[in-house]
């Protein structure tokens, strides 16, 4: 009963990527909620309190790192594992992400969906 019905919030402003990972993760029987931007993400996190958040960094207006700040600064949300993912291979972002409290960091073009699934499984166990 554990990993079967866990909820994952997928935050990405690009619908192709969002759909790709939604497809893949639903195969693993995760419950996937999508958010298109930072403010939607913040709302949904407070509302649903997902078991894990997959967070894109480069988004217009409220960016991924701000969402991360939000999560880490709220007592009831602090413990939610967050994987930050981005299309940029900028090392600076990685360090930013990890400093702000992300549990892992993933570069979209250098990782396969399978590897993402493995990371998620590790964090949710």
């Amino acid at each position: 009963m554990e990993s079967k019905n866990k909820t994952i919030l997928l935050v990405d402003d690009d619908s192709t990527i969002a759909n790709l990972y939604k497809e893949r993760l639903e195969i693993e029987n995760y419950n996937i909620i999508l958010a298109e931007n930072g403010s939607e993400a913040v709302d949904k996190i407070s509302e649903i309190k997902p078991d894990l958040v997959l967070l894109d960094i480069m988004m217009p207006k409220i960016g991924g790192l701000d969402v991360l700040d939000f999560i880490r600064s709220h007592e009831d949300l602090r413990k939610i594992p967050v994987i930050v993912f981005t299309a940029l291979s900028s090392e600076g972002s990685k360090i930013d992400g990890l400093i702000k409290g992300a549990d892992d960091y993933v570069i979209k073009t250098k990782i396969t969906p399978k590897e993402v699934v493995e990371k998620i499984k590790k964090l949710l166990s």
Partner: protein
Amino acid sequence: MGLIQYLSVFVFSLTIILGLIVLSHSPKNKLNIVFSILSFCFSLWMFCNILIDISIHDHDLIFWGKLSIIGPIIMQPLFIYFFSNFPVRNEKNYKTEKVILFASIITAAIEASLSYTAFNIRGVSMVNGMAEYQVGNLYIIFFSHVLINLIFTIYIILKKIKLLSKEERKLLFFILIGIVISIISGASTALLLIFLNIHGLSVIGPLVSVSIMLLTAYAIIRDKIFNIRLVATEILILIILSILSLGMLFSRNNAEFILIFFIFFLIVVFGYFLIRTTILEVKRKKQIQELADQLKIANQELTKLHELKDDFFQLAAHEINTPMASILGYLSMILDEKIVTIDEKAENYLKQVYSSSKRLANVVTNFLDIIKIEAGKIKLDLEKIHVCGIIKEVVDEYEEKAKEKNNYLIFDKKCSSGNEAIEISVDKNKLKEVFVNIIDNAIKFTRNGFIKITCQKKENKLFITIEDSGDGICEDDLSHIFDKFYQAQDADGHKNNGTGLGLYIAKSIIEMHDGSITAESTIGKGTKFTIMLKKDI
């Protein structure tokens, strides 16, 4: 000669020099020329006064007395012209000003033509050793002219006050003070001279009038170039010439006078050229300063452009990488994980798509890295890992491709036997890029052969070699293969298609790890790359 005479000579020299100095600043500038002429007219007036003082005979006295008004007469229209054009011309009012100028010129011409008549000076008599003139009506006309001119000048100035900047108003203010002082002093002494016949003080007027000259000169010069060295040079020459003029005054005989006058003349000429050279030098310095300022601005623009470029590339990277990730992601799900079932033919086609997409992703990564390398902005994301692990990953990925060209891709691991396992702090992704670039190249240039990779530890260093039995690289190319954009020719003499960046990036990355990369090759036999990485960076 009395004190007043000495002072007169001094003032006389001063005004000549002043005229020359202003002229030397910009010989072609109309304003400077007019000012110099004004100065020389003034000198003429002074000169006449001096000669009046030393003349004894009546006809000399009358001659110099009549001549003395010529200077001031010429000055009147010149003043109008000067203030019409200084510091800037008031285009709106210029027609009116031209009329005023014309009127003044006509009046001056009439006055000048009358100056040799008795209308100017009727007669003279010596009283107590001092000359007493009986003046004619010309003086009344002249003074009216001066007064009217003064009113017009004030009118011209007031009309243009609005057009002037703060700096220019300050300059004008200086000059106006000077005018007022000199008019008051000049007028009062002249009035004293004419109506009260007290003319021993006749030189005080001019003396004080020099203030207008000095202030205006200062204003003009300051407007152009104000420079300590220049002013000091001018003052020095001024002093030398003043001393020389005193010398002329005190000369005991004609020979001495001529000698000193000759030196005076030489100093004037020398001084003129010296000042001109100094001015040119100051102008040069100003030019250089301006160029430096321009350079500074250009640099700032360049920095801004650099930043824009960086922003642009970040955006471009994101926009390219996002759909790329989507393509690679779906293909991975289909081909690696086989989440959906597809027929063999579809699978083969898609495999081609997959490998092309990975190649595309590599090219994009290469480009982005180049940009970062050039900008010096690349940072290594170091983690302690098994280098051989990365090599194995790349070997696995390229196995298919090697087989296509009938090549063997061999990885001879000598580095992880037992406690020889080597973990170094490296940037995993960057290092992978290096191996991808080299192995990809090796496969490209080899057919029906082998590509062998070895990994060995020696002391505190890790040596990785990638050797192929391919076409090899000729000696001329060998020294250039790590250059940016350099592409060696293949066996048929064709230039390879590719970006020419792969090895340049590989070298940059290895060197950033404080390692080294070298290549040996024999044409027709093959190439061997040797990478050295230090255990401790």
